[in-house]
């Protein structure tokens, strides 16, 4: 392995290969960041809805989760990228005003946001259901409304309990951004592939990408472990002290 290759210039530009990979990493992290915010908000709403006692809301919530869990991610990318603009005229009109990179980025964020939200919804639901029902009734007995019970009692507990599974969802999300390569988003995997094809240095390019992805995974893992320790609920299995 010769590290010199990463300092070499890209044929059609004035950047070196390491800068191309770094820019790819930037797109990967940006996509994951915005998709995570979207997934967290949507997933929390759907997860909460699935624990209420409104049976229609629960059904809609369940259908939402099943929909995004039972279609391969790459097909979901194709749906958001090709099918939705093809069927909905307003989307099509808007999409043609975007430049391709913007279009790919927005699609990737929306697609990964919905995909991940279904998985977060599942975690939030199981977090809330893992609490003893006494907590909910205690809230009602104190005169809190359902909204208040969720806001002040159930959710603060549930979120703290599900930090470990949420950590693995963050890592899955970062790994899943690589699938955005299928619609041409210039994220880390796209740049890796491009470097490999153009320089014929497959081994170096893939090794670099592997090292970067492992470094992200380790960092995410450490950061979340720190948060987990700070927020652990005393007395629970995952809780410290």
């Amino acid at each position: 392995m010769h590290l010199g290759i990463f300092l070499e210039q890209v044929p059609d530009g004035n950047l070196a290969w390491w800068q191309m990979l770094a820019s790819g990493l930037g797109w990967t992290l940006a996509t994951a960041f915005f998709a995570w915010i979207m997934a967290f908000v949507l997933g929390s709403i759907v997860g909460v809805v699935r624990t209420t006692d409104n049976c229609w809301a629960v059904r809609v919530g369940n259908a939402y989760v099943e929909l995004f869990r039972n279609i391969p991610l790459i097909v979901q990318f194709f749906i958001w990228y090709f099918v939705v603009p093809g069927l909905v005229l307003t989307v099509k009109r808007w999409v043609v005003t975007l430049d391709p990179t913007q279009h790919q980025f927005v699609t990737a964020v929306i697609c990964l946001g919905f995909f991940t939200s279904a998985r977060i919804a599942e975690q939030v639901r199981s977090g809330i259901q893992s609490l003893s029902s006494g907590q909910r009734y205690a809230g009602y007995a104190l005169g809190l409304t359902q909204t208040q019970t969720y806001r002040y009692i159930l959710l603060p507990m549930a979120y703290r309990i599900i930090i470990p599974p949420l950590t693995s969802e963050i890592m899955n999300l970062i790994k899943n951004t690589a699938v955005a390569y299928s619609i041409g988003l210039v994220e880390l995997f796209f740049r890796t592939r491009e470097m490999a094809e153009m320089t014929f240095r497959y081994f170096d390019a893939f090794t670099a990408a592997t090292v970067i992805y492992v470094a992200i995974a380790l960092t995410a893992n450490r950061v979340m472990a720190l948060i987990e320790r700070r927020l652990a609920v005393p007395g629970y299995i995952t809780g410290g002290k």
Binding site: P72, F82, V83, F189, A217
Partner: protein, 229 residues
């Protein structure tokens, strides 16, 4: 807009799509069986008291789980000929092709995930059983084969099957190596006939129906086979 749609393209290309689906199912089945086999070996290595074995198994599993599947697919596509060459002791790397290297990829990749499931399965067996097996005079391999693993498999069967459904979906990524799996076949038809909307909508519906019914079956199975300790 809807008026422009032509769903006949699906009927016309059905044999080709079914061939793609057949490859998807075949790859899923081989990878699930191979992955379970190697995953079980990896789990035994991870749990062994022989440090080099447990450390290298853990390193392999963690590496596989922290990089994107797409990267793994391209790694093996590029490495598979070299690996086969060194195993067989040939002079030149053989030409393997993406469709066949995918089998190696998914067996090796799934082994890491099945390893974690089997490790949980082995952990789910009360320690007393291992002691009892040794007390009966069984050696390590006999105890594993006759006592621990059959129960671990049974306890973990729903999880193994759920992971296999995930695998069934993940296999679609090989289409990015131009392999004609179910998605790959639909991509080719969609581009040839410029029927992108119809093809991808159809593929999504087929996957949804298949995966949803399979996961419903797994849920039923889960209720039936649970061992109550």
């Amino acid at each position: 807009m809807i008026g422009d749609l032509d769903f006949e393209v699906i009927g016309r290309s059905l044999p080709y799509l079914l061939k793609g689906l057949q490859y998807t199912v075949q790859l899923t089945a081989v990878a699930a069986l191979g992955g379970t086999f190697f995953g079980t070996l990896l789990a035994m290595a991870r749990l062994s008291s022989f440090r080099p074995a447990s450390l290298s198994a853990a390193g392999y599993v963690n590496l596989m789980r922290s990089i994107p599947l797409l990267l793994v697919i391209f790694w093996f596509y590029f490495l598979a000929p070299v690996i086969v060459q060194s195993i067989m002791g040939w002079e030149r790397p053989p030409r393997i092709g993406a469709a066949r290297s995918a089998y190696i990829t998914f067996i090796m990749f799934e082994a890491a995930y099945f390893c974690e499931i089997m490790r949980a399965g082995i952990h789910s067996i009360p320690k007393g059983q291992v002691g009892a097996a040794f007390a009966l005079g069984l050696n390590y391999w006999q105890a594993m084969k006759l006592v621990i693993l059959p129960q671990a498999f049974r306890n973990m069967l729903p999880v193994l099957l759920t992971q296999t459904i995930v695998l069934f979906q993940d296999v679609s990524l090989v289409s990015l190596l131009n392999v004609t799996d179910f998605v790959g076949a639909s991509v080719k038809i969609a581009q040839r006939d410029s029927r992108v909307v119809e093809m991808y909508a159809f593929v999504a519906v087929v996957y949804f129906i298949l995966c949803y019914s399979l996961s419903t079956l797994v849920k039923q199975l889960q209720r039936r086979i649970a061992i109550i300790h």
